[in-house]
């Protein structure tokens, strides 16, 4: 029995607070079974709201980017129109199906600014609102009506500057889907944090395994022990990890964590370069001077804990938002490409640096993020390999791993409900 430092809910454990989760071992076949992966594509990724980026990526009329969605066998164009509305379209020309927007490599994403989209193949043109504006040799066609050959729209809605798409035209509105957890974050100054570092990697694991890795910090004192100074690492390993607070909100979930590192109580806890830069894994120690960080919206640090350092919000199915006490945020996205592969994207968002010192403080945070993520990423490949052996299929998850239990259950519920509806 561990001795809790921060206390558990009255029910005795975070997990038992949600009886539907159970406490038994969890079957991880959902991460290796190709048929289950196919079912997840249809039941989850073609029907839920997916975050494809921030509005700051589309600053002007005609700003656009493409987003490859291998998991749904499509590519999307996200574009800001003349009415400054952001819209999403399938990236396909209505003439004969050529991919409309791409450069050099059809499988790679691209971005830019344009007045209209012109197909490379036969020159059909579309306005920023998707309307068909030009058909090459129109008179050769048989009674073709341009108004019927606009780009195929995809549901696109925005929450707090985050652009979401949904391939299901019948989907509920975004804010209903995101629910009360998102409501509780509204007003935090996401829009001020426009200095961005963005990482990308292809990872040899099922998409859910990387979410697992970032949905618990039980691993942190062990896997990352060398990253702390020796004395601190030993102490962390001895204590283990306990979250301050866990909460499930329907399909979404959050965990709230302590944050003794920004600034550290004792400078000897951190590495020499962090002492000079006043920054590290937990970000710059000094809060930026922007509105909205104090007081915090009610959904952030929901337990109002004094030791609070960071909240991790997981929006089903593949978007994680980490809000840090010193005033910056991280995003994680997991884009499946196969049952045992996915593209991982990590973004660090800061209030823009005003000085070189501030720029260097952000640099060490971004560099440190990469050191940790490389350790995590490779461990996942090792896990995927051994899950595939099926030598063991069921695994005990502890109370600090409640969000993993919830994720695998939620994904399985979607698959089951979709199969039920299809019958």
């Amino acid at each position: 029995m561990i001795m809790p430092h921060f206390g558990n809910p009255a029910d005795g454990s975070w997990t038992e607070h949600y009886p539907e989760l159970g406490t038994g071992p969890v079957d991880y076949s959902d991460s290796i079974d190709p048929a289950h992966y196919e079912a997840e594509r249809a039941a989850i990724f073609k029907r839920t709201w997916l975050n494809v980026g921030r509005v700051e990526r589309l600053p002007r009329t005609g700003s656009y980017f493409t987003r490859e969605l291998a998991v749904a066998d499509t590519s999307l164009i996200i574009v800001r129109g003349r009415d400054s509305q952001i819209r999403a379209f399938h990236n396909i020309c209505r003439h004969r199906g050529n991919k409309l927007v791409w450069n050099d490599f059809p499988r790679e994403e691209t971005a830019g600014t344009c007045r209209q989209f012109t197909c490379k193949y036969h020159g059909w043109r579309y306005g920023l609102d998707g309307e068909n504006t030009f058909i090459q040799q129109e008179s050769e066609f048989f009674g073709v009506d341009k108004s019927q050959y606009g780009l195929k729209a995809v549901r696109c809605e925005i929450w707090e500057g985050f652009i979401f798409v949904n391939l299901d035209p019948q989907a509920q509105p975004l804010t209903d889907y995101l629910g009360e957890m998102a409501k509780g974050l509204e007003g935090w100054p996401f829009h001020e944090m426009t200095e961005v570092f963005s990482y990308k990697a292809e990872v040899g694991s099922n998409w859910k395994l990387f979410i697992d890795a970032f949905a618990e910090f039980y691993h942190a004192p062990v896997l990352h022990q060398k990253q702390a100074v020796k004395q601190e690492a030993d102490k962390l390993l001895g204590y283990g990890y306990e979250g301050l607070h866990y909460e499930l909100h329907g399909r979404h979930s959050m965990l709230s964590s302590w944050g003794g590192m920004a600034p550290p109580k004792d400078l000897n806890m951190v590495k020499p370069i962090e002492r000079v830069l006043r920054s590290g894994l937990f970000g710059p120690w000094d809060r930026p001077a922007v509105e909205g960080l104090d007081p915090l919206p009610p959904g952030i640090n929901p337990a109002r804990h004094k030791a609070w350092g960071m909240d991790s919000f997981f929006f089903f199915p593949n978007f994680q938002l980490l809000i840090w006490a010193p005033g910056w945020y991280l995003t994680y996205h997991y884009w499946p490409t196969a049952v045992d592969r996915h593209l991982f994207e990590g973004g660090l968002y800061f209030v823009p640096s005003r000085t070189a010192s501030e720029r260097l403080a952000r640099e060490i945070a971004a560099v440190t993020f990469k050191e940790y993520a490389l350790q995590d990423g490779n461990t996942l490949e090792a896990t995927q390999m051994m899950l595939k052996s099926r030598a063991v299929t069921e695994f005990p998850l502890n109370d600090q791993e409640i969000l993993l239990r919830h994720l695998h259950k939620t994904a399985a519920d979607y698959v089951r409900e979709h199969a039920g509806a299809a019958r």
Binding site: F197, K271, P272, V276, P352, A356, E358, L360, A366, K370
Partner: protein, 106 residues
């Protein structure tokens, strides 16, 4: 290449690199002896470099100052191998990679 006050670091000017992918590639291609020598010379000057650079407008740095900033970014890049790993690569990271595809440029 660098402001006069930092002439002692001129011999590490091959670490004046504008982007993270270049700095990371140089780290992987360097020996621990090379990185330790760079760290030992540059780390004691980090605080002075910050004070020096902060007197300038960040987005309008003269060339020598911009080079100094890039050099300090490289110092941050080698700090993990030197202070933590004692090897250029993250241990057990094997073939794993993580590419920085967007970074704020100065």
């Amino acid at each position: 290449m660098l402001p006069a006050e930092f002439a002692a670091l001129e011999r590490f000017s091959d670490w004046v690199l504008a982007t993270e992918p270049e700095r990371y590639a140089k780290r992987l291609a360097s020996s621990m002896e090379e990185m330790q020598a760079f760290y030992d010379a540059a780390f004691p000057l980090l605080e002075r470099a910050m004070a020096h650079l902060d007197a300038f407008e960040l987005h309008d740095l003269p060339e020598a100052e911009r080079n100094l900033l890039y050099l300090m970014q490289s110092l941050i890049m080698v700090s993990f191998p030197v202070e933590v790993w004692k090897q250029p690569r993250v241990p057990d990271s094997g073939a794993a990679y993580l590419d920085l595809v967007v970074e704020p440029r100065v």
